[in-house]
Symmetry: D2
Subunit: 273 residues, 4 copies
């Protein structure tokens, strides 16, 4: 395969840099759904290797025809081996503004994150997986905003079912999806945040439970019934107390074991006055 002579490369017309007459500014343009490895440094421990979906976009002024898509991929490649934490993602978004000559830009990265947990009675260790998303919103001349999203699965056990039944109570896996907005990159302790959310379920989940653990988990859930409303409220109360958070949303979806649809609840709010 022969390379084009340099003169040929130089002469390739740069359509993207032409002017645009339509007078429509674009809030976001870039690449979406890029699957790429990332090293995540989300707590005090060592960075963990995982695989992310990335979206990188910039704002495009009305008079510019198009952006340069390949530069987003160059940016991604340049940060491949970095231990990524919120402050570094914000810095990466700020450097994107220069690279793309843009006034605003957003990076979102979404990845599975693992915590090594000990089973409640036997202490047997196993990994639990959580889905985490980070977003950095850079704007020229302003501090870069940061948002966090985490999906935490727990058990919920229905208080009504327990109250009206002679024995038993329906329970199921629930997903607690929390979104936190920060005015600046936080010093994050993801394991602690996840642990605090898990503590709001009827029980938390583990990858590995021995018989003594299963007994513990079953009884704990039965002693601790929660409607979807209870779960969403208890998580919200905890989120209100987080420092540095400017706004939050918590959505809980119970994959009901007695229906083929979900019970669902959302609370949005800000920091406690």
């Amino acid at each position: 395969m022969n390379a084009l002579p340099d003169s040929s490369i130089a002469s390739l017309v740069d359509v993207q840099s032409q002017a645009d007459p339509r007078q429509v500014a674009i809030q976001q343009v870039g690449v979406r759904g890029v699957r790429h490895p990332v090293r995540v440094a989300a707590d005090a421990g060592a960075a963990q290797e995982t695989v992310a979906r990335w979206t990188l976009t910039v704002a495009l002024p009305a008079e510019k025809k198009a952006t340069h898509m390949s530069r987003f991929m160059e940016l991604l490649a340049a940060h491949r081996h970095e231990a990524m934490k919120p402050a570094r993602l914000c810095a990466m978004a700020e450097s994107m503004l220069d690279l793309l000559q843009a006034g605003a830009g957003d990076i979102t990265v979404d990845f599975p994150y693992f915590i090594d947990k000990a089973a409640p009675m036997t202490g047997a260790r196993s990994l639990m997986d959580y889905q985490v998303g980070w977003e950095a919103h850079a704007r020229q001349g302003r501090r870069t905003d940061f948002s966090l999203r985490v999906v935490v699965p727990v058990t919920s056990l229905c208080p009504c079912s327990k109250a009206i039944s002679r024995y038993g109570a329906h329970n199921q896996r629930s997903q607690v999806t929390v979104r936190l907005d920060y005015a600046a990159a936080p010093a994050l302790d993801l394991d602690r945040l996840i642990g605090d959310i898990e503590a709001c379920g009827s029980s938390q989940l583990w990858g590995l439970l021995k018989r003594a653990d299963e007994k513990f988990v079953t009884e704990q859930a039965y002693e601790n019934p929660k409607f979807v409303e209870d779960l969403v409220r208890d998580v919200a109360i905890g989120l209100r107390r987080l420092s540095g958070v400017t706004a939050f949303e918590v959505a809980v979806e119970n994959f009901e074991s007695i229906h083929n649809h979900s019970a669902y609840a959302v609370v949005r709010g800000g920091p406690q006055a």
Copy 2:
């Protein structure tokens, strides 16, 4: 299977109606992901039978412990055979406020929608499918808001690839996702809205194309190259002119034929001043 005696039913404790001490109001609580048939009346023609995913939620005041989930399903069953249009979905959301004794409530319904299209040269007829979502936001004492979401697939052909190559140009399927907010239920002509969006692609798509149609579509796309930025701008210009729309968002995702990720652009705006 024996029925419980009436006295037994009457005595079942109503846990949901108890008071809650946590002082956390819930913006949305209800059922999510309910798969249910719906008859959609989205234009001048006959209603079409399709299958939807429904989410129905109400706001719950801080002092109430829980909502009554089964009533959402009763509401859905009661409207099963109705020809659903925006005004009827808004009325359904308003009746939900009474049924659940709520100050606010939202219904979203998401369904595939079909248009019978004629191929561009031969006129051969086939159905094209589009994903459509409707949302009604009811608030006590206010007019019910309505939002529309529609996903329209088109072809996009890259202007840069065409300009720099001796022949050919990479092209691909693109998804145009439009969201429109209305202050009140609109008199919707979904087929015309979709047609106007399709007209912004390098070419539109059909279920069935004969050879003469394929020649036409290929040449039309080549004559009509569009960056993701061109597509999103051209759709935005059309949306600005729609009457009754208070805000819009258009997002375009090109499933690039030369990459394993997407090019992506978003424009948000309001009606033209």
Copy 3:
């Protein structure tokens, strides 16, 4: 838009009909993932309107370059208003062999199917949704085979958790996926088949349950604990007895409420000797 003159259409080269030198026969070629409405007649009642994903393929001999994709879509359009039952899908697959001049051909159609159920105590009516797939395998000179796939969600309650715990027992939604192969199109009673599968769960599911129903369902599940192994065996025993079935597979996936993964079991077999 002007039509091409006839001479122009006539002269379009038919690349698909050329000869191929590679000596590789293709077992299946056609269209996949076509979303299209269908009227399903699966039991004694009236046909129900639903929306399906279709895949239509034929075998292509080694010496033929390509098939004619548009004919699959014409076939689909021609059967749009038919009340589809197994025998008609088989006949449709047989007519596809003529239309495409093929020695073998397969049609698969996958759709949500609804059953109007009465809650166990109050009799309150609601729809439950099930995912159903039909496949017809036509071969020149042989009887057309038929296969059925149905996904039935149920509740499963863990016998170990119940046995070792002082109270309660973890339970969850489970998916029972049954595949049945028939040597010829069966006279199907889909509602009865689904009902028989549901009866193997710790409890079946309903769209709508009132309080008395929820008490019944909770207690029934507690009285009727099932491992994933129990569920898969009990369904298999029922499937063995079905007449006309040449082979079956039942896979059960429990979306464990105490883990973030599933328990899973599969039994494959044939009719009882």
Copy 4:
């Protein structure tokens, strides 16, 4: 949280080990959809860290009531830091037979895999992602079988569209899914296998292309048109020649840029006679 006294743990009934009277053997029972990190050693280079979905199952004889689910998770944890290659996955499946006292057992692991590629003209480097699945099938007293699945995205450009149009040709992203069965764990060179499959497309894909690369890729695809039938045949011819393969399947899905559905083709076969 107090631990149960030992006597209490010891006395927990082992429901799973009881006898079962139903006389139904279970071909597969275990855990499914476990998300867990894995280090993959798929070629001559260093192992790469990625995130997998695991399914681990064993056969259960008719007379045994249930398997011990927690042991699958222990096995997974024990192999967490190992550099996984086909021979090691087979050894892991064989050790699972002992651990679960089973006559047969299967492990499947499905993960994104990355290759560092150089753009065709500029040599700019970027990662491309591929979805890979490995399966080990262990049977007491027999050699363990191994299967490989890999999904390779490429560009396809339509020969018919090119032949009948004055200029241009529709093209799109295509997915080539290859399955290879081996009688024993192969010495795999995954990068080379993927490269050989990519070479069958109208063009291969890259994460990052500069303008000179885009010109090259566009022209190469136009010079190299392929029907879905051409693609599936060319891949099949290459697979027939692989040593150690007892059976193969190649499925190609073209996400047509002119339709909202796919063109699709499958060839199944064995090694060349």
